[in-house]
């Protein structure tokens, strides 16, 4: 072999040498490319459970999404299982009208939309996995182009458009309020690539909607079914029977379950376990579940909010018990000064906690717990300072 090579000319030799180098390079680079393609997709899971707007809130979700980004997640799965109950013993029926939780959802949605686009070098594949998305949470999955359901999954509870303001003010103003709300809800669907008629059916009792499949895609019809291949999504009635309410078969507004959602292409599939879902996402042979901090983040948030809530109530009780002595009346100047100082510190603690957890302490929380608005505490604080200003030894 050596002699053969020795006989070839310089040019040929150089060409051959280059070819060998090229071949070697390609031999080296091919496995590299394959290795890159075969890199497992990093899957990050965020569980949203608990009370919507309180446990499920934008601050911890934002933190979890940032954690997912820092973990270089390729796929983010958001599982929604929000409470849907009047109290611990009384679940709510599907047709309860909680449309206005839309405005709470509106504060969470940007985390999965604009913020994600802005903060990720390459936005991840976002997948919503619905178990219970009733009330405000029903709007959240629509932000993602990929929605999956569990077999018992439900999405709805946002009726009320056209009826929620009945008996209040003038009809034209009520219609204005309904109109702007619907437009906002429709916008969320449009952004996610869904037909806005779906949300009309979910939100407006009496809105009659059916569909048929054409070329594998649903065609929505604002009327009752007229052919055997057309199916009703809503009854067109303004209300539901008690039997339907108890059995979970209400149809005055649309509640999506796994089958209906799949039929009208809202859901891409049904999965009861993470493995099922991973399989349906086409990642079963090529994924890695990222052990991120989302569970810790969500749990910490719930704990901190609960602690803050308890702390505020405890301070208020303490203040109510020891309120005497802080005014212009009894005790020495030093005692009064000390008392006011203590009250100001207590008020500062309350004000700080209200500010920190403002997003969870909405009007409903203030109402249920009998906590005055933050401005009242600020006023009280100012009054104490004034009293101190003019107090005399």
């Amino acid at each position: 072999m050596t002699s053969v090579f020795a006989r070839v000319g310089k040019v040929v030799g150089r060409t051959l040498a280059m070819a060998v180098v090229t071949l070697l390079a390609s031999l080296v680079s091919v496995p590299q490319a394959v290795a890159q393609d075969a890199a497992p997709k990093r899957v990050y899971v965020i569980d949203l459970n608990g009370e919507f707007g309180y446990d499920i809130s934008q601050a911890p979700i934002r933190q979890a999404m940032r954690d997912a980004r820092n973990q270089n997640a390729d796929v983010v799965i958001v599982k929604i299982d929000a409470k849907w109950e009047k109290d611990e013993l009384t679940p709510l029926p599907d047709n309860v009208a909680s449309f206005d939780e839309l405005f709470r959802a509106q504060k969470i949605l940007p985390v999965f939309a604009d913020e994600m686009m802005r903060e990720w070098p390459k936005p991840p594949r976002l997948v919503m996995w619905v178990k219970r998305a009733m009330g405000g949470p029903a709007f959240i999955p629509f932000v993602a182009p990929e929605i999956y359901f569990t077999s018992d999954g439900k999405m709805g509870g946002v009726g009320g458009i056209g009826v929620m303001l009945e008996g209040k003010g003038d009809e034209v103003v009520r219609q204005k309020q309904y109109s702007l709300r619907m437009a906002r809800a429709e916008g969320f669907l449009i952004r996610g690539g869904y037909d806005p008629m779906i949300v009309q059916a979910m939100c407006r009792p009496g809105f009659l909607l059916s569909y048929r499949m054409e070329g594998g895609k649903p065609v929505f019809l604002e009327r009752a079914p007229e052919r055997p291949d057309e199916f009703a999504l809503t009854s067109g009635l303004m209300g539901d029977s008690m039997q339907a309410s108890v059995r979970g078969t209400t149809s005055s507004v649309l509640t999506l379950n796994a089958d209906t959602a799949r039929a009208i292409s809202v859901s891409k599939g049904t999965a009861d376990t993470l493995d099922d879902l991973i399989f349906q996402l086409g990642l079963s042979r090529n994924h890695q579940i990222v052990e991120g901090g989302s569970k810790r983040i969500m749990d910490n948030w719930k704990r901190d909010v609960n602690n803050a809530s308890k702390e505020i109530k405890r301070i208020l009780e303490e203040m109510a018990q020891g309120s005497e002595g802080g005014g212009m009346g009894g005790g020495t100047y030093e005692a009064r000064t000390q008392s006011r100082g203590k009250q100001i510190r207590q008020l500062d603690t309350i004000i700080n906690k209200l500010k920190t957890y403002e997003e969870a302490f909405g009007p409903r929380w203030h109402n249920v717990n009998g906590i005055p608005p933050q401005t009242e505490f600020e006023l009280r604080r100012e009054q104490l300072e004034l009293q101190q200003l003019v107090d005399k030894k």
Partner: protein, 469 residues
């Protein structure tokens, strides 16, 4: 069926700057970067309409022409796509025109005296006249148009028209935009509405000042009620995919509608503002009251609107409802010129192959923040702070004033100091946002000093007045 039919050809306004630069002077403009403002002209549009009036500005193929509309004058912006030809014959100025123009266009001007042209010139800030504006919008070295985003409202708690979305800071921002050589101003609207009292002021600033100085565009995310009524002065409208525009019914208190004469006034006001934006008035009317609306889009792109549910192919507003557009319906009837979720998409639908977005990139913002935008953000920040603490300022002030009885001079002086501190905070808040005088004290801003500041100063002085012993 209501026989009234409004026919309009919506200007698909995206086009000019980039197109003009790429293909040279588009259409009948004098030069690529315009400038030859002034002079009477007869403009023939591609749809056959003739618009006659005084050209007040030209920029990169776009012509601003002042025309008579009823008893008032308005300035229309015509894009190169709309314009077929411009007859700049000086002899056809109104003074010399003997034969009335034969035109079906409602905007046909009546002869106007030259003196009126001067006196009727809309109020503009110093240095903001069309002639002056040219210096700011000269071509840049790169020849790439410069665009700035100005937010009107920022959603959440900072979106109320009249409090966070106001004419004053918009007016004040114009010199900054000029200093940064901005050609295109994009108003990103995110407001759920607010006070009717601010609509006309905002409309005037947008129409008389912005549209005369910049290619002015509205990019709608959430323009509800007064925010939509404000944006209506803009002709070139784009929406975000989730955008909404409408629901303009006036109301107060417990959902009580504005009625009778007040309602008629608002309807009329919005007819005029619709003309400014070149939007068919039927659209805004269906957004204000429960009037049905349908539309048909012809194959050539003309849109006809009908004030009923059956005449048009597209039902926009059923009977007994109030209209709000989403991005799909707005685009379908050409109310919006396109849908864009990002700056890149916006540039695309605005047909700007190249554009320089003016400002500094900051974390957490989808667009660069120019100086004029920073000013809007600072204004809202201070307003929010003052709004949140206003009650505290007032109550502390009142408490300080009322606690003085029976106290010695030293303590009275302390109280007076506190009262003055609160008063100064209130005055500073009103200086930043004059409408706080209306919302907090029901006093007109120009009466604030006389009706609130002076009496309060007097009370503070009385508090410190030494009693005769």
């Amino acid at each position: 069926m209501n026989q009234m039919k409004f026919r309009m050809t919506k200007a698909i306004a995206g086009l000019f700057l980039g197109m003009a630069l790429t293909f040279g002077a588009v259409g009948p403009t004098t030069n690529a970067f315009g400038a030859a403002a002034g002079g009477w002209a007869k403009i023939t549009l591609k749809n056959g309409t003739i618009v006659e009036g005084e050209i007040v500005r030209e920029l990169e193929g776009i012509v601003w022409i002042k025309v008579k509309s009823g008893n008032s004058e308005e300035t229309r912006m015509l894009t190169p796509d709309e314009v077929k030809s411009i007859d700049r014959d000086a002899t056809s100025t109104p003074a010399n025109t003997k034969e009335p123009a034969k035109t079906p266009d409602a905007t046909k001007p009546e002869p106007a005296k030259p003196a009126e042209k001067t006196t009727d010139q809309p109020a503009a800030p110093a240095g903001a006249s069309p002639a002056n504006s040219e210096s700011a919008s000269q071509p840049h070295k790169s020849g790439v148009p410069r665009a700035a985003i100005i937010t009107l409202g920022e959603g959440g708690e900072r979106d109320m028209v009249g409090l966070y979305m106001m004419a004053k800071p918009l007016h004040d921002a114009i010199p900054m935009l000029k200093a940064e050589n901005v050609d295109i101003v994009v108003f990103r609207v995110n407001s759920g509405g607010g006070a009717l009292l601010e609509i006309q002021k905002l409309s005037d600033v947008i129409y008389n000042e912005y549209r005369k100085n910049f290619r002015t565009v509205a990019w709608i995310d959430w323009a509800i009620s007064a925010a939509a009524m404000t944006s209506h002065a803009v002709e070139e409208i784009y929406m975000t995919p989730e955008g909404a525009y409408g629901a303009c019914t006036g109301w107060s208190g417990e959902l009580v509608a504005v009625k009778d004469r007040d309602l008629e006034q608002i309807l009329f006001q919005m007819e005029k503002i619709s003309t400014r934006g070149n939007h068919p008035f039927e659209i805004m009317r269906a957004m204000q009251i429960m009037e049905p609306l349908s539309a048909t889009v012809s194959p050539s792109g003309d849109v006809s609107f009908y004030q009923d549910t059956t005449s048009g192919d597209i039902l926009l507003n059923p009977k007994g409802r109030v209209l709000t557009f989403n991005s799909q319906t707005a685009a379908k009837v050409r109310f919006s010129s396109g849908t864009a979720g990002t700056l890149e998409e916006l540039a695309k639908v605005m047909q700007l192959p190249e554009v320089e977005w003016v400002g500094v990139k900051k974390p957490g913002y989808l667009w660069p923040i120019c100086k004029a935008e920073q000013m809007q953000m600072d204004f809202r920040e201070k307003t929010a702070r003052d709004d949140a603490q206003f009650t505290e300022y007032v109550q502390t002030l009142n408490a300080a004033l009322s606690m003085g009885a029976g106290m010695d001079d030293e303590r009275k002086a302390r109280l007076a100091g506190k009262a003055r501190e609160c008063m100064n905070k209130i005055v500073s808040a009103v200086n930043n946002n004059p409408n706080l005088a209306i919302f907090k004290f029901s006093i007109l801003p120009d009466k604030f000093r006389e009706e609130w500041v002076e009496p309060t100063e007097k009370k503070i002085k009385e508090l410190t007045k030494k009693e005769k012993k």
